[in-house]
Symmetry: C2
Subunit: 294 residues, 2 copies
């Protein structure tokens, strides 16, 4: 089957999972809050993190559908971070996924609370789903909570704020990328791997895979901020230059950055194949992520 | 022993628990983020919720100290909600617990992320502490996650925003209070009760107790907003009148509001005593909460 339709099928599955989670809240919370949460959560998007999480949850003998609460939670965490990131006091963005940002539609106060709501609901969702007998579920939950936290994504966001108007070296930049974007990508891979109860060696390999993927994903994002088409990316381009941010393209230029992505892709594939499982779709996904134009 | 010193001893225990949790992060997250989180979390405060949670965790045969991660998490959740609540886009407050609010010191962007960080760290803390063999721990975790969420506290905050410049009836006001303040108070009681593995009848009684206590606590807060001394409360008075908010004092006046608190107190005590446990301290605590001047 072609990659696009294979991806679409998985994306739709996540979409239904998210719809189910939101349906639980409908009519039970203030309608403005419900609308604001739905507006950002159901705004499309690639659903990359939950798709990856579910895919790695198929490696073991457990029914991967039991990992759906983890997958949905991952997307809620990603979405809340975007809603808060777009706020006037943060990046002050007007456009996200091709639509006005949450606070532009619902106001700053509701956007803050909708973000808080999505973060909290991600945990409610994961905790409700914990009935599963799979001991890997709790390990996955722990992995996600760490990645989303101050040692992971939130810490990366704080350091990223300081990465404006200043020159930082590549080591610092890598450390920011690793946490700001890499942490959730890595947690998507590893929480799936924990759910599948893979052994330590395989988990180490997938950790190496996800480290490379996370960095490649961020570099492609930064390249798209320079070369991207707003019609395709759904967000304004040229922001990094405007904010004088250090990025791979700002340091190495576009062409060399692309070569670095290619190198990461090759190495990531080697690690992925060591998983000794059906990685056919994941190989295509990895290739797509490194060559995407949105 | 006198109530004050009994309370102080418990408060200090919580203080040490919170210090331990923050120490784990020291040097491992961006220093500005660490300072901002500590600033609000370690700013004193009554520590009412964790003190209650631990007290109700003593009712069963489990070592109540194993409930410390839940207690700390409860205070982190309470604190993050205050940090976000004080933001310019929300209540725009300058003073909290007698000190400048978080965003006044660290800026809005860091305050938003510190709030997010505290919320996420509350779950990390609870999940790390889950090693315990006590099946009541997970029920407590679930109770807390629901209370903190959009059906609980966050939903109450959204409806509370709309309770400005408009007249709402007592039923709507009660529903806001139940969620905005009551949900976390109730969860402090119930999560302790779950941790103690109390039977359904006792839990029902404690639910009734906490419903009354939560409402009484909020009415006392609203009375203090009218009559309180900033030196004691640590926050500006007269805000509800300024924002034309409907409260018990605005509807019934101070004297009748105090009588309502007395009535709730009497009823709460009857429910509390049905717990058939050592409630000596809790009786004094309930009395204090209904008659406090800060």
């Amino acid at each position: 089957m072609e990659f696009k339709s294979e991806y679409k099928r998985r994306q739709d599955e996540v979409e239904r999972g998210l719809e189910d989670q939101m349906e639980i809240l409908e009519g039970k919370i203030p309608s403005e809050l419900y609308k604001s949460m739905s507006y950002s959560l159901m705004a499309g998007g690639k659903r990359l993190r939950p798709v990856m999480l579910l895919e790695f949850s198929k490696f073991g003998s457990w029914d991967y559908k039991k990992a759906m609460p983890l997958a949905c939670a991952m997307e809620m965490i990603h979405t809340y971070s975007l809603v808060h990131d777009d706020l006037p006091a943060m990046d002050n963005d007007d456009l996200r996924r091709g639509k006005p940002t949450n606070h532009k539609v619902y106001g700053e106060n509701i956007a803050i609370l909708a973000g808080d709501g999505l973060l909290n609901y991600s945990y409610e969702t994961m905790i409700e789903g914990m009935a599963s007998e799979n001991p890997g579920y709790v390990l996955a939950l722990r992995e996600i909570s760490r990645a989303a936290g101050v040692k992971g994504m939130i810490g990366g966001q704080v350091d990223d704020i300081k990465n404006e108007d200043v020159n930082i070296d590549i080591k610092t930049l890598d450390s920011i990328n690793e946490r700001k974007t890499g942490a959730l990508i890595k947690a998507s891979v590893l929480s799936g791997a924990y759910f599948s109860e893979l052994d330590q060696d395989k988990i180490k390999n997938l950790e190496a895979y996800s480290d490379k993927m996370g960095l490649a994903f961020q570099i492609v994002d930064d390249i798209l901020d320079v070369t991207g088409d707003v019609e395709k990316t759904g967000k304004k381009s040229g922001k990094d230059l405007e904010n004088k941010k250090t990025t791979y393209p700002s340091v190495y230029g576009i062409e060399k950055s692309r070569k670095i992505v290619d190198g990461l892709y090759e190495k990531a594939l080697i690690n992925l194949k060591k998983a000794e499982a059906d990685t056919e779709f994941l190989v295509k996904l990895t290739s797509f992520l490194c060559s995407r134009d949105y």
